[in-house]
Amino acid sequence: MRTLLLALLLPLAMRAQIALFTVNNGVEAPIGAVLDLGKVAAGDTVSVRIRVRNIGTATASISFFFADGVGYTISRPPLPFAIAPGSPQDALLSFSQSTPALLYPANLRIDSDTNSISVIVIANVVVGPALTVFPACTGSNGPPASVDFGLVQVGQLRLCNFSLQNPGAQDMTISTFNVTGAAFQMSTGPSPPFTIPAGGAITFVVNFAPSTATTYTGALAIETRSYNLTGAAFNTPLPTPLLEFDPGSIQSAQQRRLTMRLPTAATYSASGSVSLAFVPDTAVVTDDPAIVFLATGTRSLPFAVTQGSTLISIGGQTSAMFQTGTTSGRIRFTLSGVSTAGDATTLLTIPASTISIDSAIATRRTGDLDIQVTGFDNTYSAGVMTFTFSDISGQAFPAGAIRADFTQNFRTFFTNAQAGSAFQVRVSFPVTGDTSGIGSVDVQLTNSAGGKTQHLIFQ
């Protein structure tokens, strides 16, 4: 009995070495005697993935693989080709015809060295629906056929009006009718399945409602046809940010606070950079390296604003401190990385001023009087200094003021240092005799903005 069964089964297995399937979304479905492609709109192309699987235990050699019929083509490897046991080989069966007819048949036949398979393929070519898109959207017949919704502001809605006509002499049933893709949505229109009478039309509307500034794609599927939907969204410019500073007149050698806000709430979250640049009044230097944001020691900080807020954070803080340096000129604050309704550029003018004395000391040595002054000259024009010495009772010595011009020394120093106008100047006066009777000195430093006098007691 067992021998007989084996004898019966073995030839059967040999004959059934290859089998045919359709593949849809990765799912195999066996093909029977007839493969119906259904209704195909005239001029459209419908394609079906065909899978030839070797279900036997020996390699199959495929010698014939054709779809014999008007309008049918098949895309597959050149003949002959082999399929290993258990392995598949896919091919693409396509059909297209421009003339409507009830039946377009074909004979799909595959021959291997062990068995052959024949399948009847049929298709019904009908007059397809005609899609019309109205402005402001634009359409293209492609390929691929597409509809562009254009450029839309984030948060706004663009409606596209369509008309779907049945140009044929028979009623047309629409079973597949949907929209896919983020931001695209069918707004008004019939639900499938529905019928368009011969010569009739239906209208429908598709919405495009982008939520972020980017490009979008989607699809409008009508029966066998698919139309690419495209659109892009942009952010509206932010209201022009207001750049504000803590109260008080702006001067050199200050650490000031910059805050930024919007006059109205942001309609979306945004981020960018705030930068400062400096243009000195003087030609002696080209910049002042002390003019920086203090948090980083740099001239640029990131900023951000969240949707619905007027507050702009700078470097993650509610404000940013910066130094005004020691040079008169203009500090320019600019924003980048965001689109704003107006130019937010803000200028701070650092006015020229007389020499500022940070500290000063006069010391008495045997044979020398030393005067040291630390300060800055934001005009870079310092040079003339006068020294008026007084005795310990405060009476000026009759010799009067001693004038010295250090203009070239200062100019050389500023040019070489390129570190702003801060300076420490030391001046020594050789003295013959006893210095203990010298009590004080009035030091006057002069620049283009005027003179500044400092009274120093000798120590």
């Binding site: 050199s252 050698a253 203090l294 948090a295 630390t374 570190a419 100047v425």
Partner: protein, 231 residues
């Protein structure tokens, strides 16, 4: 290394030859452990390039800058083997007293020589002067003499502290307090981690995200943030 320390010292020193130069107010240790000169004037500071690296602590006075690496004490004129870990300095003229917290020992520094001092202090040493020592014990901050006798107390000092020649700077939870010559100035500042002598007229205040320069001259007190100086 010696040359760089010399540059830092001389730029901040009031003595020397006549001329014009960039003013320096002292030095700080940045987040990478590099000693950097602080240049400029009040309200407009620049940090000089990294001088010495691997610095755990530093202090500068009018005449002297000392830095501590893990195993050395550095000066403008040389280096000296020292106990491991950071150090707390008290500088006067060309001399210094140094406290090494890891070994809880004191030494006198002079001409690149460290001489151990026989001082025993109970509690956490916060700052030292040439004589007096600020210690925290049982949550209370006291100023004690080397023999341990209490000469003063600072009940509201809850954070770091620095003894000045004629006063003290200390941190509370949200303020820096500068107390000297019978007057007191307060600045809002939270998260203070340490206070060191930046230079003759400035203290360096290290917080969690920045370094500040506190001007300590009477009548010219001010608190400034140093640019790009995250510790």
């Amino acid at each position: 290394m010696r040359l760089l320390l010399t540059i830092i010292l001389s730029a901040g020193c009031a003595c020397g030859q006549s001329g014009i130069e960039v003013p320096a107010v002292g030095a700080i240790v940045d987040s990478t452990g590099a000693l950097r000169q602080v240049q400029g004037v009040a309200g407009s500071f620049l940090l000089g390039p990294a001088a010495v690296t691997g610095v755990l602590a530093a202090a500068c006075s009018e005449r002297l800058c000392l830095a501590k690496t893990d195993s050395k004490t550095l000066s403008p004129t040389g280096e000296t083997d020292a106990p491991a870990g950071p150090a707390i300095f008290a500088l006067r003229g060309n001399d210094a007293i140094v406290f090494f917290p890891d070994t809880h020992t004191f030494a006198r520094w002079h001409d690149d020589v460290l001489e151990p001092l026989n001082r025993v202090v109970e509690g956490d040493v916060l700052s030292i002067g040439l004589k007096e020592i600020a210690v925290r014990k049982n949550g209370e901050v006291s100023i004690v003499d080397p023999d341990g006798s209490v000469v003063d107390s600072i009940p509201d000092a809850s954070g770091p502290l620095l003894l000045l020649q004629k006063g003290v700077v200390f941190a509370t939870e949200d303020e820096i307090v500068l107390r000297q010559d019978g007057s007191e100035v307060r600045f809002e500042l939270a998260d203070v981690r340490s206070i060191t002598a930046m230079g003759p007229h400035y203290a360096a205040i290290y917080t969690g995200d920045a370094v500040y320069a506190l001007r300590t001259e009477s009548g010219r007190e001010g608190l400034y943030r140093l640019p790009g100086s995250a510790p």
